[in-house]
């Protein structure tokens, strides 16, 4: 409530205005976001060109059974002589596709339900909240398994839809809470005062301010979807007809690859899943930092050269630890 809240003097540092969503302010990516983008980019490229650059048909069997990595098969072969690398490259597309589609569908549901519940309040809010609470409480994997049972043999898109049914509730809750808070802010009241319609307020006034959360929800739901799809495939549910990393793990586990030590079969898909998850996680962290400048400059400072004023030299000024506000 003080004038010092006015842009800039507050103790935590300079320029604390959160970076508002604006087309003009896409800063150059650096650090975490650069790493995340590059990593994700690699996999996106693989997803696109994978089937074309794969050295072998992933389903083609051969006589070279359970070979460790060699010149002919860079990641070795499976129990039926299939090339692991080809499976990896082709499987990338399905895995990513499921993840992205499920992420988009789930996030859209979350936005629709969460923001509506938050803004309308009253009965609508109670009803929609009850529904999201139910979906939140239902154990996700068993539910997916049950639903997937009805889709046995269906394609990856159906799997994606099934996964999104279980993945939207958390985002909806978060968005509802955020909407409840934004709804009370002065600029929403000002919009009502002007005579803006409810639809315009929700879509044009509230949503742009929740962009960060929506993007974060999208990224995290995508990770959740990829992991769930892999789990489904690993359990033998989901679409075994198309190659995905989860499918690879299923066949590997079926053939007891772990016991027989065929690490080249189960380690690569596992690592790839982890890397995609990491990439999305890094992007999420980067977006978090962009939206909350306080996280950006909290690093402690060591050994600064002082100006020549006869004051303490660099060795004298003790390292001020971060978070030193008593």
């Amino acid at each position: 409530m003080t004038a010092t809240a006015a842009g800039g003097e507050a103790i935590a540092g300079l320029n604390l205005e959160p970076l508002e969503p604006s087309r003009r302010r896409l800063a150059r990516p650096r650090g975490k976001s650069l790493a995340g983008l590059i990593l994700l980019g690699v996999f996106v490229i693989i997803a696109i060109v994978g089937p074309y650059v794969a050295p072998y048909d992933p389903s083609a069997t051969s006589g070279a059974i359970l070979q460790p990595p060699s010149a002919a098969h860079l990641l070795g072969t499976t129990q039926t002589g299939q090339d692991v690398l080809s499976q990896l490259l082709v499987g990338c597309r399905v895995t990513l596709l499921i993840g992205v589609v499920a992420g988009l569908v789930a996030t859209s549901l979350a936005v629709l339900i969460g923001v509506t519940a938050g803004y309308l309040g009253g009965i609508a809010d109670e009803g929609l909240s009850a529904m999201s609470n139910i979906f939140l409480v239902l154990p996700a994997l068993p539910l997916v398994i049950v639903l997937a049972g009805y889709l046995r043999g269906a394609g990856p898109l159906s799997v994606a839809v099934v996964i999104s049914v279980t993945g939207w509730a958390f985002g909806a809750r978060v968005l509802r809470a955020q909407t409840l808070s934004i709804r009370e802010r002065d600029f929403i009241k000002a919009a009502r005062l002007k005579g803006e319609s409810v639809l315009r307020i929700v879509v044009l006034e509230i949503l742009p301010n929740e962009l960060g959360i929506v993007i974060s929800a999208l990224l995290l739901t995508t990770v959740f979807a990829i992991l769930t799809a892999a789990s489904l495939a690993f359990l033998g549910l989901g679409s075994l007809s198309s190659w995905s990393w989860g499918t690879m793990l299923y066949w590997a586990q079926n053939a007891e690859a772990f016991t027989i030590g065929a690490w080249w079969w189960y380690v690569p898909p596992g690592i790839c899943i982890a890397l995609v998850g990491t990439a999305l996680g890094l992007l999420n962290l980067a977006i978090d930092e962009r939206l909350n400048p306080r996280l950006r400059y909290a690093q402690p400072v060591r050994r600064r050269a002082a100006t020549a004023q006869g004051g303490p030299t660099a060795a004298d000024v003790p390292a001020l630890t971060s978070g030193a506000e008593a």
Partner: protein, 323 residues
Amino acid sequence: MLREVPALEAVGLVKNYRQRRGSPGSRSILAVDDVTLQLESGRTLALVGESGSGKSTIARLLCHLERPTAGSILLDGHAMPARIRRAQRRQVQLVFQDPFASLNPAHTIGYHVGRSLLIHGHCQRRAELPAAVAGILDQVNLSPGKDFLGKLPHELSGGQRQRAAIAAALAVGPTVLLADEPVSMLDVSIRAEILTLLRRLTTEQDLALLYITHDIASARYFADSIVVLYKGRIVERGPAADVVDTPSHPYTKLLVAAAPRGGAGHPEPLPQRRGLAVAAGGARCPFANRCPHAVDLCTRERPPEVPVGDGRFAACWRQADNP
């Protein structure tokens, strides 16, 4: 220009906030208790009170952000219906206290002002919109207006943001402007120009201005008449200079005594915070438990507003005895 009917008149406004069922000890909070006031075109009324006095609630009631529990609001003599329509929103606009919260960070200044124009039909053709918006921005001294069209709120200083908020409110074309502590969150050196701007706009556009503040000194300086609010009730009203120079109600006297003197000699000691014990609820003067002049009557019955001079009224039993 003196009109027959006040631009905005509130009669017996009451606002009761009931706590949600299920919470322990459901009480209701009486934020506004029988408030009657008039806003005249071209003049400024100051509403002075501390936090909890209900002044912000009154502002929200007057611009129909919330509905009163009882009482009526008349615009130009006509009673307002319970559910207000968009066209009726035009007449009363509100300038919020926090310039950093009253503008949507995702939209440009041009958008904020432009929406006001578009919604209320002040600009029919899209092509004319930028010029119209720039014109209004020039009026609030955000010059040159066209330079501010594309700016986002965080690119402006506090004072500029408040001007932009005023511009957006003006663009609607109201007859009444409510300003809820418009300068309390701004730096001291730029407050005067915002207040001067509001006063200028009031006279130029014949607006009725309600200036809500906790700073009684600026109320005296800036407003024509003043209303002092305590716990949702009006305790004193009258011409601003008279009320502040010679306060009648003990609460007004307390406010004046507590105000900073600016180094002009020693501030006088505050009157003792000691009144009579009162039972919870029941009719009584709201100030009785803090008033050094309280008598038994003050704890039993609610004082009416009695005249205490030229156009001045105070809600005090002691004044009723000694006019």
